[in-house]
Subunit: 344 residues, 4 copies
Amino acid sequence: MIYFNCDYNEGAHQNVLDAISNTNMVQSAGYGHDEYCEKARNLICDLCGNPELYVQFLVGGTQTNLTLIASALRPHQGVLCAELGHINVHETGAIEGCGHKVLALPSTDGKVTPDQVEEAYRLHVECDTPEHTVQPKMVYISNPTEVGTIYSKKELEDLSEVCKKNGLYLYIDGARLGYGLTAKGNDLDLPSIAKLCDAFYIGGTKIGALFGEAIVISNPALKEDFRYIIKQKGGLLAKGRLLGIQFYELLKDGLYFKISEHANAMAEKIKQALTKMGYDFLVDSPTNQLFVLMPDEKIEELSKKYSLSYDHRVDERTSCVRICTSWATKEENVDLLVQDIYKK
Amino acid sequence: MIYFNCDYNEGAHQNVLDAISNTNMVQSAGYGHDEYCEKARNLICDLCGNPELYVQFLVGGTQTNLTLIASALRPHQGVLCAELGHINVHETGAIEGCGHKVLALPSTDGKVTPDQVEEAYRLHVECDTPEHTVQPKMVYISNPTEVGTIYSKKELEDLSEVCKKNGLYLYIDGARLGYGLTAKGNDLDLPSIAKLCDAFYIGGTKIGALFGEAIVISNPALKEDFRYIIKQKGGLLAKGRLLGIQFYELLKDGLYFKISEHANAMAEKIKQALTKMGYDFLVDSPTNQLFVLMPDEKIEELSKKYSLSYDHRVDERTSCVRICTSWATKEENVDLLVQDIYKK
Amino acid sequence: MIYFNCDYNEGAHQNVLDAISNTNMVQSAGYGHDEYCEKARNLICDLCGNPELYVQFLVGGTQTNLTLIASALRPHQGVLCAELGHINVHETGAIEGCGHKVLALPSTDGKVTPDQVEEAYRLHVECDTPEHTVQPKMVYISNPTEVGTIYSKKELEDLSEVCKKNGLYLYIDGARLGYGLTAKGNDLDLPSIAKLCDAFYIGGTKIGALFGEAIVISNPALKEDFRYIIKQKGGLLAKGRLLGIQFYELLKDGLYFKISEHANAMAEKIKQALTKMGYDFLVDSPTNQLFVLMPDEKIEELSKKYSLSYDHRVDERTSCVRICTSWATKEENVDLLVQDIYKK
Amino acid sequence: MIYFNCDYNEGAHQNVLDAISNTNMVQSAGYGHDEYCEKARNLICDLCGNPELYVQFLVGGTQTNLTLIASALRPHQGVLCAELGHINVHETGAIEGCGHKVLALPSTDGKVTPDQVEEAYRLHVECDTPEHTVQPKMVYISNPTEVGTIYSKKELEDLSEVCKKNGLYLYIDGARLGYGLTAKGNDLDLPSIAKLCDAFYIGGTKIGALFGEAIVISNPALKEDFRYIIKQKGGLLAKGRLLGIQFYELLKDGLYFKISEHANAMAEKIKQALTKMGYDFLVDSPTNQLFVLMPDEKIEELSKKYSLSYDHRVDERTSCVRICTSWATKEENVDLLVQDIYKK
């Protein structure tokens, strides 16, 4: 069985693993108070072009999202988010578990628009009894989104502007940030992202690390006592250095972006085959996730050899499946899949 | 200014007030451990035709909803609810504040259908990773709904069946239950409601009481330690007898239903005038709340004399307003309003 | 049976009840947006000598405590409190239910000392890993305390100073505030209290009202969006005017203090009898609650005629019971009790 | 600087690291649905002598504690725990953050006694108004405790009995379980522990793993939907296999216990030196943590070369420090420390 069902089927990039091995018996302080984390934090500030950024490392995405949101919001405040947003549908109510409503906005491409945010905010403040409804205080977006699409710089600037204007925090879930920043057509980079939002995270779990997400906070209001919240929510890793070591290794020479590009290129190959065969896509994704509409028979046939990710039924004979590449995807496996896509 | 904006503009029915006055200096135990509450509990069991029902009294509706739901659900479980449901839009995230996601279902008439419940449940259990999503464990409905519509006995039976089949609790918010049970076309009554759901409440605040909601629990699993949850959530009234006295007075001779009928009749009068004038309604409501679509000019004119409740903009010239009668509505005021509706 | 077990056995003072009756059919806006609440809020500001105070009315004490604390603290912050504090032992974990640890301090007289606060704060900030422990951010005290003792002005000033110095909020639970402010030896008043703490509440439930607590917030940081939190926690009374009407009636001519004095005088009578009979007290209380150590036999005998409140076992033959008077206590009943105390 | 301040200063045992490396590019399912976790789960069941045990792997201790407790308790229920218990003092209120009160019991040796549990339970159920207080529903103990002491089999049996009798869950935090089970004087083993409690965890982070805790649940009531709670609380590791691989490696040939023994032996060497020098201990610990009372001067001197963990001030000239060995402690470093302890 060859896995194209997700982007966390393997361990870590060899360089990352070597870095962990090479430092294994060095003694260091716990909980991220070590020199590896310090170096990784400084490196991220450099890459983002802002020495004032506050950087912490957590283990996983849901943990990162819930920690940041729990830290930022007061009890009556909620977070605007696309219907398809990870926090809305794939975290078992982690945000509600911290007491906050996720205010879902309709979206077919996984994105939130400035108009939606403006309208949601306006409806809240203009209603007769705002205090009877949840106060929108944050906008959560994913880049790339859960369906593989990316935000343009202009789109992010506009979102950022409407958030600032209305006193809303803008938070970006970057579980697959590398895949987004190296996608065809992307015009965003780390400095622009760090500037336009209040907080975001650089995902490691899905791009070369054993595990780990680097959260980057630019808004001073969100930095205060943040480590208390990490600890309370169970996210403070005892051997925090493991996170610092990995992120330093991934980011020091651009490895993170190189392996992201690889995943996108592999997805592009598959996409071209699917396109040639006339299959439609849920949306046009330039990143490592493809959501393709296929006849059930074809899906069944491919599933004998490949693990794909079933998404949803489209009609009686057609379903949407997700095909996913990653930093670890072998081109030989892609070629096999492409051949089988072409097979009639 | 004459108020038609909601159904809690006045104090209490005179009989209720008299009952409070007449018992004022009697000493009794606190927190509902008094004879008045005991009598009211027994009366409610009688009216529902089931001596095993567990009855407690709370002060308000949001409090009742959050207490019951917090008591019934485990952290990962959520509650299915119509988009327009009170817990979804008008309780400032009270349910999320207790850690639970409200799983909103599209609805134009304020109702939830058995098919929607079946589908939501099926999608959850059939997905590859149910544990990554909130587990539906309860269905919340309001009867009458937030837009004034009512469930038929057949509709409730079908909902009840699909809930039982799938292990979901069915909970009915009866903030306006009296208005529903006395509406034209209603075929539900207290015994059928008590039998078909796991818990419901009989609303007092909006029907003749100073305040108070009587929660009725039939499912034994939901009775255990319920009073601890009331206390923890801040809902245990020290002078609990005030609730027992009021509900006993309202229910002992059918006063609750008589004054509900009055409100419906008053609404019907207004509805006929609006219909004659050709105005459309959001939905066809047989109860005390009318959601009517009116030209903004007409709304403005009426608003000089009457307090109405603005609901939402329909188009550039038209808005939806709620007109509300209650147990306390004076017919002379209704007649004035009717005249002014007819006025061109 | 004559009740001396608590101070909420009766309804309301007759004037309060009359005020509710007299306004019963007046139509007004809901949720505290009415003229009665407005008048009561202004009156309380006047009595406290500060027009900038923010006043809201809630139904009960646990509700008030949890709402204020949930509104003020971030997730990792806790509240310092005497071991005997109501939030620590008699609210079914309402504060923890909102996510916050109650940091209990040893106390035999129910009070918290400035030294305890200073020490708790110092231990937190000086420890190597403060983020692994709950951050003290508020001091909760009750005045009178749960065992009837009161704070002197000097004591409150000192507490206030240590709180300000360390960035801690000072919050006073005034469930029985009237009994405290009219106690023998008291030198506090509303203006000094309002000045020395960040928030406090004037208890109505136990002093003449059917129900109700008036929360008074002086710290601007605690005012923001407070009504959202009230609503979310289920504490926003639909017919909010009931609270305004009651507090206005109680406070407009000093009725609140007059009836408080009565309760204290009644307690004093009982205390003298107990003292003459040689019984010891848990602490020396100048207010309406007496905690007396009595032989079990004597308690059993008195309990045939009087409802007392059992507190705890002292030794094999002795227990501590609470004897409680209130605004409603009849002197004839006190005289009967006194006679029976003297009886051998 | 040589670290004796804690037991998580290094990475992982070389065998564990090798196992991770050797499987690095194998593709597997995510979230613990892989063959490595399956093997590790089966192995743990075997070692505990019960194939019905439910085993899940989490990343860290606080996360494990909060997940298990949040899953087991209803909102009004609390957990009994020694004052020194990790959940009471070193998890930033993680349990309260999930809504539950930690009911602290006085303890100087870090243990909870059956009498304390019995008494706490009795006081709750016998009080007049149990629903006004938190319901004790679980007993949390650590073995070894936070001060290094261990429970005997008899002590655990007695605790288990009192818990069963009163319907309380018994949960054991085994962050350092290996150090306890290999300590001098220990008569507990995995099968007896699995039998006597409802849930416990085998700590990996502090004993040879990069990270990881294996939670073992024997009570069927605590198994239901447990993975939902893990996900909601942010503890479901995407590459869950990393946990299975590590625990399998540690447990398959007894490595876990061998390296635990080493740590205890190293601590014993240090303990003998400290004893010879006449230093007192906070408690007598047979495990890898020593809490020794030393003159501040001596501490200062040692701290130039060794990182120790300051615990608390004893008197003007003396403090208590924790000296900690681990699976990774080098004997040569212990010998250096011993020499320096003897130095005058």
